[in-house]
């Protein structure tokens, strides 16, 4: 079975389109970062601090009935989510200035009192002080920066600097574009989503290394196919040669990520969503972003 056989697509020539598409995504990504800093983005309580509580009610329950109880009791700034197929409600609120321990206890008290005939059980509760979140965001930023530097160094050592630089630009693109997708779909940034972004960074690099490796090999072997053509052509040939691998590997990863997305439960939903788009973006950028940039860097270098 072969999907793709002996292709000769001119990927590099399509770079104008891909650069426009990527610019749009990256701009959205930058907007997401700005809104994150400004505090208007959807950020999970693991970063902002706050509390999240899942209550399992004995009988059927509606969000509005819970809201009706909480708002008059003074809990105005709460977000309520109902879990499909269960009598469970998740109550979330961002960092309140007052004591979170007391706040959690108060909410529990109010709900227990009002739903005496439909008593809820606390399935899980999470209470995070704002200082914890600050440390977490700092650690995440440090992790991303350190991995980018380490990768440039490794690829420069194994390949050449222009490959390392192109891979790093590709990686930065992937992270930003992925944040752009998160912005467009208005998904919440949680610790698991950031973990997924870092995983995607690792995956996308693997992908770029495979493409670059083939370019390197074709540059070295002065065979008939590389003698009479320029770098653009050579890069095109290389991408086409590894195209099947790129498609097949992305497909197998997407298969498991999809099963994680549909079957992995609510906790892993955002994680799987980010991975899904991350794999797509990482694969796309190896072909349409990192490789053309390598060619451009090279032209600047040698002209």
């Amino acid at each position: 079975m072969e999907f793709i056989k002996n292709t000769h697509y001119n990927f590099i020539a399509k770079r104008k389109y891909s650069f426009v598409l990527s610019s749009i995504l990256v701009i959205f990504g930058i907007i997401e970062i700005i809104t994150m800093i400004a505090g208007t983005a959807k950020i999970g309580i693991d970063f902002t601090g706050g509390l999240s509580m899942e209550l399992a009610f004995k009988h059927k329950i509606s969000i509005s009935s819970v809201r009706k109880i909480l708002i008059p009791a003074g809990f105005k700034d709460v977000k309520l989510v109902k879990i499909k197929g269960k009598n469970d409600i998740i109550i979330q609120t961002k960092a309140a200035a007052k004591d979170l321990n007391a706040y959690t206890a108060e909410i529990k008290q109010v709900i227990k009192k009002s739903f005496e005939k439909n008593p809820p059980k606390v399935v899980s509760s999470e209470m995070i002080g704002p200082s914890v979140g600050k440390k977490l965001s700092r650690d995440a930023v440090i992790a991303i920066i350190i991995s980018i530097i380490a990768i440039i160094l490794y690829i420069t050592w194994r390949f050449e600097f222009r490959f390392g630089l192109a891979a790093a630009i590709g990686l930065a693109h992937d992270v930003l574009a992925l944040l752009g997708v998160i912005f467009i779909f208005q998904k919440e940034i949680t610790l698991l989503v950031i973990t997924a972004v870092l995983t995607v960074a690792g995956y996308s690099l693997t992908d770029k290394v495979v493409v670059f490796d083939r370019i390197r090999e074709n540059l070295k072997t002065e065979t008939e196919k590389s003698k009479h053509i320029d770098l653009k052509g050579l890069v095109n040939i290389s991408i086409n040669e590894v195209l099947t691998r790129t498609v097949v590997t992305s497909l197998t990863v997407i298969l498991v990520v999809l099963s994680l997305f549909f079957l992995g439960g609510i906790v892993l939903h955002g994680f799987a969503f980010t991975l899904l788009f991350g794999v797509l973006i990482g694969t796309y950028s190896s072909i349409f972003i990192a490789s053309p940039i390598m060619v451009i860097l090279n032209e600047k270098h040698y002209k």
Binding site: A140, T206, V256, F262, G265, V267
Partner: protein, 525 residues
């Protein structure tokens, strides 16, 4: 002929060891000798899978420092009074330092005798300008010891729950992370480990009027503390005020053991034995203040305030306070493990109920099985028999990964399961690379044996480089991640390393075995 024997034996041994080490982790009734062979290593479920609590507690060292300074301030005040070099009002307590009055500073001999006194009795304090404060080095050491001490005390308390694999660790300057997977009574556990449990004995001031004090006229050196009782029938709490002298006569450091006893009314009380110094001190106090009321105070709550009827010299005492059995038990544990050197405040509390954990395991395993079947099916569909060989490597991968997690005694979290699932998807990548190479070689018309050999050789460095880059990001994730993310990074890194072995050695040997058996003219790929 290619020699395959060593490699086949190696892989067979690995598979055997893997099965051997995984079984104790998934089958709880594994015989004891079996567990002993693998060093009792077992995979643990993280608290997101079996339920439990994850706490981050901040040690409020500044409060402890302030309290210590107040104690020293009382000492210094009584020193200048007895030496007659100054009056009580010459010293003012200002939370972070003690201010000296101008009068005292003018008196040169008084200043030098004060300096001498600090040098001999309060080595951590210094007189600088017109204030007395902590030496910076002493302050830093004190803070460090307070956090370290708090970790020790909490560990003692957590040990009382008899949990499997609880974790307690210091984080940063003043944070303590506590993980208690599988803890049953979450509320009680949180309360118990965070209890300061500072036991003090102070006198009740019966010479002044309590009503006046409640109206705002608290006599100097006194404070109002409450005895709080909970009525289990009316569900109401009642607060009874006491006027207490601030001076601490004795504290919990003198306790050598504490346990629950029954008094003659069959009510639980906490029996306390004092060490020899404590027994002597307690004897002196009860002799000196016979007839007065001695308040037993725990963390600023009056537990009881009995009248001292006669001197107690034996070093044994009991604390009664209408406890329930559980309350008495908790108090005994808290007193045995000692007081926290500083109060702690919870700044993060993740509690996962056991039902959510069970749901997560169920969902995770389902996603893993479906994902695996999809990938296995796809590989056979796309690469036929060669795909089957890649599938063999995939299963080997999962097996080795589980074995490694068991042998390292790793904690399996939900993101960890996600890491395993992701490994399944990525593990075929190396084989895809190799197979595509082999197909290229075959297209160029090379014989099967050569094509396979070239395919593996040419793909080798690509696989190596791509694995190392992926490993770098996983390592960074491990280093900076916390809690569940660490679990994810561990499974991912182990998966990457194991994958390198299975794809380069594990599948190659099968191709070699096949080509040794018969002359291959066609390859099912």
């Amino acid at each position: 002929m290619k020699p395959v024997k060593t490699r086949v034996i190696l892989i067979a041994v690995f598979i055997f060891i893997s099965f051997f080490s995984i079984i104790p982790s998934i089958y709880p009734n594994t015989p004891g000798w079996w567990k002993a062979v693998i060093g009792n290593a077992e995979m643990h479920l993280g608290l997101d899978l079996q339920g439990g609590v994850y706490l981050v507690e901040k040690v409020e060292v500044d409060k402890a420092v302030k309290e210590k300074l107040y104690k020293d301030y009382s000492d210094i005040k009584s020193f200048i009074k007895t030496k007659n070099i100054g009056k009580g009002k010459d010293l003012t307590f200002k939370d972070e330092y003690i201010a000296l009055s101008g009068n005292l500073l003018k008196n040169k001999p008084a200043v030098s005798s004060l300096k001498n006194y600090l040098k001999n009795h309060h080595i951590s304090l210094q007189l600088s300008g017109d204030i007395i404060n902590f030496k910076p080095s002493a302050l830093a050491l004190y803070k460090k010891e307070a956090v370290g001490g708090a970790v020790e005390v909490m560990r003692n308390r957590i040990d009382q729950f008899g949990l499997v694999a609880p974790k307690i660790a210091r984080q940063g300057k003043d944070l303590i992370v506590v993980e208690m997977p599988g803890v049953k009574n979450v509320k009680q556990a949180i309360k118990l480990i965070g209890k300061t449990a500072r036991l003090t004995f102070k006198l009740v001031d019966d010479k002044h009027n309590l009503m006046d004090a409640l109206n705002g006229k608290v006599p100097k050196g006194d404070e109002i503390l409450y005895h709080i009782t909970y009525n289990k029938y009316t569900h109401k709490t009642a607060k009874r005020p006491y006027l207490i002298q601030k001076a601490v006569l004795m504290d919990g450091a003198a306790i050598s053991s504490a346990n629950v006893q029954m008094n003659r009314y069959n009510q639980p009380v906490v029996g306390v034995s004092l060490n020899s110094a404590g027994a002597k001190q307690f004897g002196n106090i009860t002799t000196k203040y016979t007839g007065e009321r001695l308040a037993i105070i725990l963390d600023n709550n009056v537990i009881s305030a009995p009248v001292i009827e006669e001197p107690i010299l034996g070093g044994n005492a009991s604390i009664s306070g209408r406890f329930t059995m559980a309350q008495a038990n908790n108090l005994a544990i808290a007193l045995r493990s000692g007081a926290l050197p500083a109060p702690v405040k919870i700044i993060q509390n993740n509690t996962v109920g056991p039902t959510l954990g069970a749901d997560s395991i169920h969902d995770g395993i389902l996603a893993a099985i479906v994902g695996t079947i999809l990938v296995i099916g796809f590989m056979i569909f796309y690469y036929k028999l060669s795909g089957l060989i890649a599938d063999f490597a995939l299963i080997e991968n999962v097996l080795f990964l589980m074995a490694a997690l068991s042998l390292f005694g790793a904690t399996l979290t939900l993101p960890g399961i996600a890491g395993i699932i992701l490994t399944i998807g990525m593990s075929v990548d190396s084989n895809v690379l190799i197979f595509e190479r082999i197909r290229e070689e075959l297209r160029e018309g090379k014989p099967v044996v050569i094509a396979v050999e070239n395919g593996y050789n040419k793909a080798f460095f690509t696989i190596l480089d791509s694995h190392v880059t992926a490993l770098i990001t996983a390592a960074v994730l491990f280093y900076f991640g916390s809690g569940p993310v660490k679990g994810f990074a561990v499974t991912l890194s182990l998966g990457i390393m194991i994958n390198l072995f299975t794809s380069l050695v594990g599948t190659k040997v099968i191709f070699d075995m096949i080509s040794n058996k018969k002359e291959l003219n066609k390859l099912s790929i």
